[in-house]
Symmetry: C2
Subunit: 214 residues, 2 copies
């Protein structure tokens, strides 16, 4: 499959590399056509890895991952272009973390709205699926890093799009994937970030994840 990755940070690079290893063709997009980190990432990931602008990556992907910082995601997606994203599945991995006073961050949107919903409203023809925003990126692509069962969450308005994302998550090794319903559930998954960040500061280690025990 052809995949567009928006963002050149740790999350984008980790997801992009995993997708390349699984046999997909991946184009990493950024604000500029020759972002240093994207060039380096493509060099390290072989023939199936390429780079370009946000618009290049969005046009290239049959499915697109939003791995930009949450506070600039809407701007990045605008540069990616509604016409390049149209009708596609957009996996929104971002969290709207804002650092007005340093650590810990706050959320730039929460409670009665979420980044996932903002993106869905701004790009109504795109099939937004919020996923993988509740764990560290190493865990995202290799859940077996943490022993035992633990959960990934998905939510979004389009069932077929969620099924497609669930299939990708299974190819990453995810066994327990909880469908939380429509995109308004993104409020819930984004709002776990404060406790996640607190646990990170206590453990000094990002190898942990949530599990819902019943």
């Amino acid at each position: 499959m052809k995949v567009g990755i928006l963002g050149t940070g740790m999350v984008g690079a980790t997801l992009g590399s995993k997708l390349v290893r699984l046999g997909h063709e991946v184009k990493m997009g950024s604000r500029s056509a020759n972002n240093e980190k994207a060039v380096q990432w493509a060099k390290e990931n072989g023939a199936r890895a390429s780079f370009g602008t946000f618009a290049d990556a969005a046009a290239f992907g049959e499915i697109v991952f939003n791995c930009t910082a949450g506070t600039v995601s809407l701007a990045a997606l605008t540069l990616a272009g509604a016409s390049n994203l149209k009708q596609k599945v957009l996996v929104d991995v971002a969290n709207p973390l804002d650092f007005p006073k340093g650590m810990p961050p706050t959320l730039s949107v929460c409670n009665s709205d979420s980044l996932g919903e903002q993106i869905q409203r701004a790009f109504p023809s795109v099939k937004v699926v919020k996923a993988l925003n509740t764990m560290n990126c190493a865990v995202m692509v290799d859940p077996a890093l943490i022993p035992g069962e633990h959960d990934a969450f998905v939510c979004g308005n389009d069932k077929a799009a969620k099924a497609e994302v669930v299939e990708i998550l299974r190819s990453f090794g995810w066994k327990s994937i909880i469908d939380l319903g429509d995109i308004t559930a993104a409020r819930g998954t984004e709002m776990v970030l404060p406790i996640w960040l607190r646990l990170l500061s206590i453990y000094q280690n990002a190898r942990f994840n949530f599990k819902i025990v019943k």
Copy 2:
């Protein structure tokens, strides 16, 4: 031990009854001295159970549980009286759930503040410990209702107060209790309510809880 319970709802009644069964003396407080639910609860719970005003319950308790609705907790605690609460451990079980548009609720405070912090600021001599606000009340007092390991969280500024609350939680059957640090971590535990409520609406059953898997 003498325990004051503020609030006559399901949470207060369930916690109060458990504490009575464990041998404690419990006074349930409410806005009026003769709240019907408090009178009925005391009748059902025998000689160690009594009722009165918020101030009566606060004065009675060596430790006090805030089981009022989060949006009225500060008002209830003001009625309970700073002098009755002074230097005591206050276990804040409440969540600031607000229902301006019905279900699902939003949080009346979150992100850069929390109910736990608001209470601590309003009553600086009280030792506020946020605990038990991340699961259903039946699970609070009987964690074995859910098979396997799952977690309770505590946070607060006073270590001895947290240790006392941890001991009470252990007497309820809690085995895994995560200390999240100071009271600002209440932001984290209160902000898990949106995903908790979404899971409740999916499962149609409150017998589930969070576990942090490492």
